[in-house]
């Protein structure tokens, strides 16, 4: 029987190994053991710390300066000027709005569809394994490849399959990508992330206690009541986990935007990552891009703290079983 909290609180039993205590004081043995325990962790910790924190510190640093890479020698202190621009400039507010719209829509729709499909796949149906295999393909396919397939072979106004299918009802030659850019991006992301939501919820459904369900059935509950009062509350943490994790990934959508609309038309599909890319690599405005980056991190941290809390809740649920 495995113990989830191996070692926590059982320190006494482990450190008393005969080899160490011989000829040394207990205190120095404990100290040495404590260091030996930390040692394997250090490379990973140091590595991640360096490569994630240093850039972040630098981002904050650069955000306080005005610096354009195309103009050598333009590096000068600018205080909170970049942040003032973040608040006032319309392009940044548009990007934030686009990010919120894209994320909320994509997450909400993919969660709903994902839950439904998970409930469906949890039933006794033919070929469940094959169905699940088919369903996870959208998530595995390279996002850049998928975006191109959607744009050119499916949604193309002239040659696209969607055009062909919809032409009988008079919607032919509709330039979906340019007339409904945000909807296109949301569709592609929903298509890509629904399998993710489905997998998480399905795993949750499959970890339900069968006895509880059986007891409910014996008590006379029909399928709908069981769903509403037992199943849904049970999978709620899984839905939350999927929604939060999915949000953290969808907020960073870049590939599909780059490959289909390039942020356009105009700024219709420019979200924060894409704006950052534009400002940094087409405007070469390092200071402005850094300020945008800092704002993005702060906003993400707020969502991430909820995600972390949910993750640890599920973790503890698992440990108690």
């Amino acid at each position: 029987m495995s113990q989830p909290n191996v070692g926590n609180g059982a320190v006494a039993g482990r450190t008393g190994a005969p080899g160490f205590a011989r000829g040394r004081t207990a205190a120095s043995a404990a100290r040495r053991d404590s260091w030996l325990r930390r040692l394997p962790l250090l490379p990973a910790l140091v590595y991640v710390f360096l490569i994630t924190q240093i850039p972040f510190v630098l981002t904050v640093y650069y955000s306080l300066f005005s610096w354009n890479l195309l103009r050598p020698g333009s590096f000068r202190f600018a205080g909170l000027q970049n942040y003032a621009a973040v608040v006032t400039e319309p392009s940044i507010r548009i990007a934030i709005a686009n990010t919120v719209v894209l994320t909320l829509c994509a997450v909400a729709i993919s969660v709903v569809i994902g839950v439904c499909v998970a409930l469906l796949l949890n039933r006794e149906i033919f070929g469940k394994g094959v169905l699940r295999t088919l369903m996870i393909a959208p998530f595995l396919v390279m996002p850049t490849a998928a975006a191109l397939i959607w744009k050119d072979t499916l949604l193309n106004p002239i040659f696209g399959l969607v055009d062909y299918i919809l032409s009988p009802i008079g919607l032919s030659h509709m330039d979906w990508v340019n007339r409904f850019p945000m909807a296109t991006i949301v569709t592609i992301e929903v298509w890509r992330w629904t399998p993710f939501m489905m997998l998480i919820v399905l795993a949750g459904l499959q970890s339900q206690n069968l006895e509880t369900l059986e007891a409910a059935r014996v008590d006379g509950a029909n399928a709908l009541s069981t769903l509403r009062y037992i199943t849904l509350p049970f999978i709620r943490p899984f839905i939350e986990l999927g929604a939060l994790l999915g949000s953290l990934f969808i907020v960073q959508t870049f590939d599909s935007i780059y490959m289909t609309t390039q942020g356009g038309p105009g700024q219709a599909t420019t979200n924060i990552p894409f704006l950052l890319y534009l400002v940094a690599f087409q405007g070469y405005d390092i200071g402005r891009a850094s300020a945008i980056g800092v704002v993005a991190v702060i906003l993400t941290m707020i969502v991430a703290s909820f995600a972390l809390r949910t993750l640890f809740t599920i973790f503890h649920v698992e440990a108690r079983r």
Partner: protein
């Protein structure tokens, strides 16, 4: 809820199963269809790929694939392979001891360390782009595959540590007791006891690393140009296509997606576990 006589089931068990199965298959095929279409288009000639109405029945041909493969695709593929394999190896090498430290012989602040690791996963990639670009430029690592290896390792290490730890936690204590009774030292314990049992964990971690590294586009497109460009960047060349190119596009897309598709399909269980960071088994 009052105890009542069990109600008779509505409908025939066989019939409703068939109905739900049908619904399930329709949904699954709808989701899978773009992928299927991608593969089908790749097997057509350019005329067939761009035909109106779309060609459904055709004799498959590999000419699109041949064209793509002769059109400088291999270097992109090789770069992707180097970046992916390199970073995955590093993640395992550095992450396994860390996971060991956090699972088997935990330190006092295990939770803090885990918390920190996972929080870095949630950092928006975009924010670190500028300093990483400048650092790479100053270190002459622009358009160098090493830069991608370093970054991919950073991206995947937290997840790897978390995942490996969740696998290590499942090893029964008795095995460690037995090893200790035998007088096993630290390394001996690691190799004899832990390694064989954590192999599925290593497989799962490698799979997740493979998926996220292979498909990664944001850093690849901004930190490389010609020498170190990876597979997704090959597809950028298809954005503004002129003339007939759908079959080639589909062939390139299929070639790029194949490794991850295969890996993900073969190891679905590890995939789920990895995606939810070990929280869901």
């Amino acid at each position: 809820m009052s105890v009542a006589a069990a109600r008779p089931r509505r409908g025939f068990p066989g019939g409703s199963r068939l109905l739900w199965s049908l619904l399930g298959w329709v949904v699954a095929i709808l989701f899978f269809f773009p992928v299927l279409w991608m593969a089908l288009e790749a097997l057509k000639t350019e005329e067939q790929a761009a035909s109106i109405p779309p060609t459904i029945f055709f004799v498959p041909t590999l000419e699109a694939f041949q064209e793509v493969l002769s059109r400088d695709f291999p270097p992109f593929f090789i770069n992707s392979a180097i970046a992916t394999i390199g970073s995955t190896l590093l993640v395992i090498l550095v992450g396994l001891p860390a996971a060991y430290a956090l699972a088997i012989r935990p330190i006092k602040r295990t939770r803090d360390a885990l918390f920190f690791f996972i929080s870095t996963r949630f950092l928006p990639f975009a924010a670190s782009l500028v300093p990483l670009y400048l650092l790479a430029r100053d270190l002459h690592l622009l358009d160098n595959i090493l830069a991608l290896i370093i970054i991919y390792t950073t991206i995947n290490l937290p997840l790897g540590v978390w995942l490996l730890r969740s696998f290590l936690l499942e090893i029964p204590n008795d095995l460690f007791e037995a090893a200790r009774v035998d007088g096993a030292g630290f390394f001996s314990e690691l190799v004899r006891v832990v390694l064989p049992l954590v192999t599925p964990g290593i497989a799962a971690t490698s799979l997740i690393c493979l998926i996220f590294s292979w498909n990664e586009f944001f850093y690849a497109v901004n930190l490389t140009s010609t020498i170190a460009a990876t597979s997704p960047i090959f597809l950028v060349g298809f954005i503004s296509g002129r003339g007939l190119f759908y079959a080639k596009l589909s062939a390139a897309a299929t070639l790029c997606s194949l490794p991850v598709l295969m890996a993900g399909w073969i190891a679905q269980k590890q995939l789920i576990r990895g995606l939810t960071m070990g929280a869901v088994k």
